[in-house]
């Protein structure tokens, strides 16, 4: 049986171009972070910083219920 997981994806900077700022998605159990990126047509190589629940995340990690994924292109300042 496939159980849907509810996850949140937050997009920033140029990743917002042509996309929403935030998505709440239902993903099949066993989905990985990279599946979210694929769904949103964000090439993994363009991702500079990927945060999973506010900590450095891994695109291959399997998603958990209520995960928050934040995705940034290269950004800097100070």
């Amino acid at each position: 049986m496939v159980i849907d997981l509810k996850v949140e994806v937050r997009l920033f900077a140029t990743f917002r171009e042509g996309r929403e700022k935030k998505y709440f998605l239902d993903m099949p159990e066993g989905s990985r972070v990279i599946d979210l990126l694929d769904m949103l047509k964000i090439p993994a190589e363009e991702v500079s910083i990927l945060l999973l629940n506010g900590r450095d995340g891994d695109a291959m990690r399997i998603l958990d219920e209520s995960d928050v994924v934040a995705v940034f292109p290269p950004v800097g300042g100070g």
Binding site: R10, F12, A13, T14, R16, K21, S48, I49, L51, N53, G54, R55, D56, A70, F72, P73, P74, V75, G76, G77, G78
Partner: protein, 608 residues
């Protein structure tokens, strides 16, 4: 002589004498220029125990050998003086166009001594240097001062000045140039104010002489190419400015909210770089010869166009005060530029006042006459306090000398989020250990820019480090501190590190000045500069006890959000930092370290 101009202006404001001196080239090269040369000159001439507002304090402005040279981001100059805010050495730099123009007039450095009897300004046109009456501009805000002086001396002149903040000796006052660029930190504007110097106008028509024109052209083109190809320097910063950091810092749970009582806000996006770009950005507002162009030009809701806020400013007037009204933040930023105030310290001081009010230290009757609240999130009040600080009006007078003195006056200095009495910038160091050590040991007090560990610990430049880990951070921070001292002393912008590394700076120095440096020697000069600043501070009376963080950041774990549960590990990192610097357990550079850095003359300078 290449890169350097070879001339120094020395003005005694007390007797009105103006001298032009020959630059000590050997000294200049040993300390590179700008920050290094300024600090070396200052420590040679001024007793570190001097009262910052006395005639004996001096005010130095210096360009670097690359300032004004045809290499990327070469518009920067450095202010060196004793800070009235921190009691440390003040090293405060700015971009814009003034620094390059000063070099074009033919000078590496200007030393102001004494105190003028009445308000004056200094006008420089190449070889001509004159002291002028400033009665007409005293009291004017920065844009009016700039317009007035350009009206007299021509539109091509570049204007550096103080606003009412500096005139009224606010310890948070900045030296402004080109209307909206600031040597912001350390209260350096108040030192000019104490000397009755309103402005320095400069017009230069020369070029910086180059050791090898062809090589400089090639090196410059190569380095500009690297910057343009870098995704941060070539794309992220030009598109969003430094403001792009709001969201990433918040998502990591290190965006201080309500004077560091929280470290995450679900409203941060309202004051982010993305929102600024979408709703307020008119155009980019670049400094001299800068391909990055992070500076912003914005349109306020009332139609006024002005310089836009940096990341730190968006934070200090925004989340730190729990304010999420971007127009109000833009207005407060504009007011600080007009009054000549440091946006980090002013916003953070308003936030500290709000916490004092929240906790019942500041009573309603104290602010009743002002008719302005100190409630968290009151955007209108935040703007009103900014203005009152600039004018030292009402309770704003109590806030105009920064959060430390304000909180101390209520007997609770621990609510001042400062290091060495200077307000901390927009990153909670409890969950970024290397950045926290930068805060604690910074020679100019609470500051992020003299060793930006956020770069490796959050942004992944030049490599990604674990932000929660202690191991290796002290040594990493030391390299960043030394490299920043190099970049500051060359006269370039720290944002070039988004793309360039030490060998690139060696290439530029050698092409412009002539073959002098390699990687090791240039970085060692940075170490020498940092250590000399430390010696100044030690002689001024600072101790190991000053190399610390606010109690909250050492003892109260972050309450909520992605970085919940963390405190800063100063006890681990401080001894390590002293050790990698070759300093003893009390933070005093050892004789061997001084010898290794070519600072033999300072052996015995500090009594042990």
């Amino acid at each position: 002589m290449y890169g350097y101009c070879g001339r120094v202006i020395r003005i005694n404001l007390t007797d009105g004498s103006i001298k032009k001196e020959v630059l000590d080239l050997e000294k200049a090269k040993k300390y590179i220029g700008a920050r290094g040369l300024g600090v070396k000159t200052f420590i040679d001439e001024v007793d570190p125990k001097v009262d910052p507002f006395s005639e004996e304090n001096k005010f130095i402005i210096a360009g670097g050998p690359l300032t004004g040279a045809p290499v990327p981001t070469s518009g920067r100059y450095m202010v060196v003086t004793k800070s009235p805010l921190t009691g440390t050495i003040a090293i405060s730099n700015s971009g814009g166009k003034w620094g390059a123009e000063f070099k074009f007039a033919g000078y590496d450095m200007m030393i102001l001594e004494g105190k003028a009897k009445k308000p004056i300004y200094i006008n420089i046109v190449d070889d001509v240097v004159e002291i002028m009456d400033a009665v007409e501009v005293w009291g004017k805000v920065v844009s009016e001062t700039t317009d007035y002086l350009k009206g007299i001396h021509g539109d091509k002149s570049k204007v550096l000045c103080i606003g009412p903040g500096g005139e009224k000796l606010s310890l948070m006052s900045a030296v402004m140039n080109d209307v909206d660029r600031a040597a912001g930190r350390g209260g350096v504007g108040a030192v000019l104010g104490s000397k009755n110097v309103k402005a320095i106008v400069v017009r230069g028509t020369n070029k910086v002489a180059l050791a090898d024109e062809e090589k400089t052209k090639k090196v410059s083109s190569d380095k500009t190419g690297i910057l343009m190809k870098d995704p941060v320097a070539g794309s992220g910063l030009p598109t969003y400015g430094s403001a792009v950091l709001v969201n990433i810092i918040n998502e990591n749970g290190i965006l201080p909210v309500r004077n560091f009582q929280k470290s995450y806000s679900d409203e941060a996006d309202k004051v982010s770089g993305e929102t600024l770009t979408e709703k307020y950005l008119v155009k980019k507002n670049p400094c001299y010869r800068c391909p990055i162009a992070c500076g912003r030009w914005v349109k306020l809701d009332d139609g006024t166009e002005c310089g836009g806020p940096e990341y730190e400013t968006l934070w200090s007037f925004g989340p730190d005060c729990d304010v999420y009204d971007l127009n109000a933040v833009d207005v407060a930023n504009m007011l600080c530029n007009e009054y000549g105030l440091d946006t980090i310290s002013v916003g953070a001081t308003i936030a500290a006042a709000m916490e004092l009010y929240q906790r019942g230290y500041i009573k309603d009757e104290e602010i009743e006459a002002d008719g302005v609240s100190l409630n968290w999130g009151d955007a209108e009040a935040m703007v009103a306090w900014t203005k009152k600080i600039g004018l030292r009006e009402g309770f704003g007078d109590n806030m105009a000398d920064g959060s430390y003195r304000l909180c101390e006056s209520y007997g609770v200095p621990e609510y001042s989020m400062t290091v060495k009495k200077q307000e901390l910038p927009a990153y909670d160091p409890r969950a970024v250990q290397g950045h926290g050590i930068t805060y604690a040991v910074n020679n100019r007090g609470g500051c992020h820019i003299k060793g930006y560990m956020i770069s490796p610990e959050i942004l992944g430049y030049p490599e990604k480090l674990d932000r929660f880990a202690d191991e290796g951070k002290a040594a990493y921070a030391k390299v960043f501190h030394d490299l920043t001292a190099v970049i500051d002393s060359l006269g370039l912008c720290i944002f070039t590190t988004f793309g360039l590394g030490l060998p690139d700076y060696v290439d530029m120095y050698n092409a412009v000045v002539g073959e002098e440096h390699d990687n090791e020697s240039l970085l060692r000069a940075g170490d020498r500069i940092w250590t000399l600043e430390k010696l100044f501070n030690l002689k001024a009376g600072l101790t190991k006890a000053d190399d610390t963080l606010p109690k909250r950041l050492l003892e109260e774990p972050i309450a909520e959000g992605p970085s919940k549960g963390n405190v800063h590990h100063l006890k681990v990192l401080l001894p390590e930092y002293y050790s990698v610097r070759g300093w003893d357990e009390n933070g005093l550079p050892t004789d061997e370290t001084l010898r290794n850095l070519g600072l033999e003359e300072y052996i015995g300078y500090i009594e042990k």
